[in-house]
Symmetry: C2
Subunit: 235 residues, 2 copies
């Protein structure tokens, strides 16, 4: 028996990127009885192609799609490979120290704060994002300590204005990406309609940190990977 | 002996609006030995005229001025008088329940996040904002509990990326606005070059919550008010 059978539907604003994790999160929350609003943010990321994938997901899920533009912010951040064209996106895995250049400082707090503003304004009961355990080594704003501190901050920042029982949902926080792929396969995520690559080329590069992680996750999950990678042709 | 005589100068990103509080904050931090960057944010506020005042302050203080545009966000917030043209800015004082419509949900977290992102990227040692005790009754994100929770969240969100001793400064947190006016007079703030009015007309309206508070603060501080108010002519 799913939650949808037990309780009235509640509203959630999902911080989503068009990537595998947040797309699976959206599909899954829908099956769990949440009314979704998908929030995409153009923060000047070079892989903003991800947002066109997100828009398609919103259409498929019949969920309102809100896109906010804060690309000025990305332009002000020197030294992060995701928004500064002078810095190369490294190849490798997320455990490599070289991957630190892909940190966009304080990004998740900012994205979640935009979602919270929209949620409070529309009386939604939750915000959600797709951080998982593979993000922990490099990205401090994907760790359990962050989610806990963030939820506490939101509660005091909006005291008297939040919907009853307001939650910051991060259900994949201690999952691996392979776990997410397995769940995605269960809830029918069309994986070829998701975008991971940080390099933002016409196809997934297959060698940057997020492509490497994506490939591995499908293998570990035992799920066929429909992604077309530049380095290996069709998988 | 001021701090400037004792220690090397450190860098701070000040969330500033062109209003009386944040302008005084900027002047004062400068005298205390901080290198300032002033951050103005266009979040779709109807009183965005304040940012032209801020720009002037930055020029006078010879401080870099960064303006970020997130007006998409303001457009998404239904029901707040500061960004929704369909909602009137009420007259009265900040203790009136009617003043709740001037709350922009989660605004300070968002503005501070932009400052933190810039600060981390430039290795600045602090962010600062000008919340004071007069803001507490209506604005939860101006209260001491918020500042404490926000600082904790920033520490974990950016673990390993913050400058040593990074601080979230809110030195006026338990001050009255009259205290701020007194300090402003001491450090030479040209008060006529600050903007408070939420209505954003050609001159201060003299009757909205922030105009009422501004007028009272000058009276209580015993400092001459150079502001031209529409309702009373020149003060």
């Amino acid at each position: 028996m799913t939650r949808a059978d037990q309780a009235p539907r509640r509203d959630v604003v999902v911080v989503a990127s068009g990537g595998l994790d947040s797309t699976t999160l959206a599909y899954w929350l829908g099956t769990e009885g949440w009314n979704l609003t998908l929030l995409g943010v153009d923060y000047g990321q070079r892989h903003c192609t991800e947002l066109s994938f997100l828009k398609r997901t919103a259409a498929v899920l019949k969920a309102p799609y809100v896109q906010l533009e804060i690309s000025d912010f990305g332009k002000r951040l020197a030294g992060t490979a995701l928004t500064d064209e002078r810095v190369d996106v490294p190849a490798g895995t997320y455990t490599d120290p070289s991957m630190k250049v892909t940190v966009v400082p304080h990004r998740n707090a900012l994205l979640l704060d935009l979602a919270v503003g929209v949620a409070v304004s529309t009386r939604a009961e939750a915000v959600a994002f797709g951080a998982h355990s593979g993000d922990h080594p490099i990205y401090p704003d994907c760790r359990p300590e962050f989610v806990k501190a963030y939820a506490q901050m939101v509660a005091v920042s909006n005291e008297g204005f939040l919907a009853d029982g307001f939650e910051v949902l991060a259900p994949f926080l201690n999952w691996t990406k392979a776990d997410i792929v397995r769940l995605g396969a269960e809830v029918g995520v069309p994986f070829s309609d998701t975008w991971s690559c940080y390099r933002g080329g016409p196809r997934h590069c297959g060698e940057c940190g997020t492509c490497t992680e994506r490939k591995e996750a499908f293998v570990l999950a035992g799920v066929g990977d429909p992604t077309e990678y530049i380095d290996s042709g069709q998988d």
